[in-house]
Subunit: 307 residues, 2 copies
C-alpha cells in the first residue's frame, strides 16, 4: 500500500517588512488598532519580485541538489498569478532544470493549497508520481486596495513548498474538501481588480464551515481532537483562528499560529506554517496534524496527515 510522506519543506518571505505602525499612520488608524483586530504585527511585500520568483525561492529553500532531478510532479496553488502560460509550476521546473515532469497550477481560493496537496497525493497513490513538489504562493500586495482597511492591514506576500514522497510506511491521510456557493460574494478577486472582502460575513462563514468541515474529517478518520498533535489553520486573522479554536473546544496550544509575524498569505499560508513548524522542531515522526484551508470560492478543505 502506497502512502505519502512530507520529506522536506521550504518557504520564502519577501524582504520588505511592513509594520503596523507604518500602516496605522498611513491609514490614520489609532495605535494598536491592527494588532487588536487582526493579531498581525508585520507583513511582507514583494516590491520588485514576481510571483514566480517568490515560488522559486521557497523551492530553493527546500531542496538539496541531489533531490531535484527525481521530481516528477509540480503543483502550485495560487490566487494571484498573472502567469496564464507558462504557469508558475513551469517556471519552477525551469529553475530546477527538470527535464520532464507533470506541471499544473491550481486556482481554488485561499484554500487552494489543500486542493494541491490532495491532488499530489492522488498522483502518488496512483503510482504516477513518486516525488511531488507542492507549492503555495500569493502576492497579495498587488491586489490590495491600499485604502481598504479590511484587507490592507491583513494581507501579505509569501510562498511555501513541500516535497511529498511515496512511502511504504503506514501514514494516515484523510481529506475533506468542499465548496459552497458564495451567494453574497463575500470574498472575491478578478485579475484586473482589487480583492474585495466583507469581513463580518467572512468571519461567520470561516468559523462555521471550517468547524463543520473538521468534524466531518474527524468522523471519517474515526479520531477525536485528542489524537491530533497540531491544528494548522490558514492564517487569515487571529479572530477567525480564535473563533475556530473556541468552537472546536480545542487547547489553544494545539493550534499553530504565525500570523503575528507573517500576516495572511492566502495559498502561502499553510506551507509556510508547516515549514516554520519543521524548523522550530515541532513536528515529530508519526505526529498527526490537521491542515485547514478556507476562503474565496467559497472553498473549504482540511487534511489530516501523519508526519
Amino acid at each position: 500500500m502506497k502512502n505519502i510522506k512530507i520529506t522536506s519543506t521550504g518557504s520564502y518571505l519577501p524582504n520588505t517588512k511592513i509594520t503596523d505602525k507604518e500602516l496605522e499612520e498611513k491609514l490614520k488608524l489609532e495605535k494598536g488598532y491592527i494588532k487588536k483586530r487582526t493579531g498581525i504585527e508585520t507583513r511582507y511585500y514583494a516590491k520588485e519580485e514576481k510571483i514566480e520568483d517568490m515560488a522559486k525561492k521557497a523551492v530553493l529553500d527546500l531542496l538539496k541538489k541531489e533531490e531535484i532531478k527525481d521530481i516528477d510532479l509540480i503543483i502550485t496553488s495560487t490566487t494571484t498569478t498573472n502567469n496564464l502560460m507558462p504557469g508558475i509550476s513551469n517556471y519552477i521546473q525551469e529553475e530546477l532544470n527538470i527535464e520532464n515532469a507533470i506541471t499544473l497550477d491550481i486556482l481554488a481560493g485561499c484554500s487552494g493549497y489543500i486542493n494541491a496537496l490532495d491532488v499530489a497525493r492522488l498522483y502518488i497513490l496512483a503510482g504516477i508520481s513518486k516525488k511531488a513538489l507542492v507549492v503555495g504562493v500569493d502576492i497579495l500586495s498587488k491586489y490590495v486596495d491600499e485604502e481598504d482597511v479590511a484587507t490592507a492591514v491583513v494581507l501579505s506576500d509569501g510562498a511555501g513548498a513541500i516535497l511529498l514522497e511515496e512511502t511504504t510506511e503506514e501514514k494516515m491521510y484523510f481529506s475533506q474538501i468542499e465548496a459552497n456557493i458564495d451567494k453574497n460574494k463575500i470574498l472575491t478577486c478578478k485579475s484586473d481588480e482589487k480583492i474585495q472582502m466583507k469581513g463580518k460575513e467572512v468571519y461567520k462563514y470561516a468559523v462555521t464551515k471550517t468547524v463543520e468541515n473538521i468534524n466531518k474529517l474527524l468522523e471519517k478518520a474515526e479520531l477525536t481532537l485528542d489524537d491530533i498533535k497540531y491544528i494548522v489553520p490558514h492564517q487569515s486573522n487571529i479572530k477567525i483562528i480564535k473563533g475556530i479554536t473556541s468552537r472546536l473546544k480545542v487547547d489553544e496550544n494545539k493550534v499553530y499560529k504565525n500570523i503575528k509575524d507573517v500576516g495572511n498569505t492566502f495559498c502561502g499560508s499553510i506551507p509556510i506554517a508547516i515549514d516554520q513548524m519543521k524548523k522550530e522542531n515541532l513536528l515529530k515522526d508519526k505526529d498527526k496534524i490537521i491542515l485547514i484551508g478556507y476562503g474565496g470560492g467559497l472553498n473549504t478543505g482540511s487534511i489530516l496527515l501523519e508526519i
Copy 2:
C-alpha cells in the same frame, strides 16, 4: 475495480462568427491566405460574454436536470481566466445550484483539459467522486493582438464540458502527461498582456513532442494505432495536425478535425471536439480513442480512453 465513463457532453460557441474574409480584409492579407495556412474558415468571438458564462452554457448544453444534483466534483481548465476567486468552477456550481462539491480551476496551458480529465479520473478512482464535471474554456479574443497575424487568424473562443462517471464496466484508460522547459518562450501569455507565439518553433515542438508522447502512451497501453478508432488532437492549426498525422503514419480519417469551423479554442478544443463527435454519432461503446493536448508550458499530454 472502478473505471470512468463519459456519460454526457456539451459545448458552447459564442454568437459572433468571424470569417476569413473579414480578417483578411482587416489584416490586408490576400484572399485564401488564412485557409491555406491554418485550415480555418470561421472562428467565434465572445463579444459581451464573460468566460464563466461561456463555461456555464457548455455545461447547460450537457445536463439533464436530474443529473445535476449528484455532481460532486467540478474541474475547469483554462488559460484565459480573470476569475482569481471565485473560480470558474465555483460559478458553474452556483449556476447549477449544487450545494456541495469539490471545485478547482487548472492552468496548464492549451493542454490543460488533459490535466483536468486526468485529475478528475483520480478522484473517481479514489472513491472521492462519483460524478465529475470537467470543463474546458477559453476566451482567446481578449488576449489576441489584433494586428498579429500569427495569432489573430487562428484563435477563437469556446467551451466544452464532459460528465465523467464512475463505472464498474471495464474501460481502458492510460495517460501520458509531461512538461518540458520552454527555453525560448515560444508560447506565452500573462493576464495583462496579449498572447505571444513563435509559429515555426511551436510547429516544431508540437509535432515532435506530441508524436513522442503518443508513442509512449501506446507503449504503456501495449496497443498500436490499429487499435484506436479516433485520434482527437488539440485543434491548433491544420498544419500541426497534418504534421502529427503524417509522422504517426496514421490514416487521416482516424484524426478528428473541426478546426475549419471552430478555430483554435485552447482548453475548449478537446471537449468541444468530443461533444461534436458524440452529436455526429461517431463514438460507439467500447471505441478506444486518444485525446492529445499540447501547447504553452510547454505542456504535452495524451489520454487513451474507452467510450
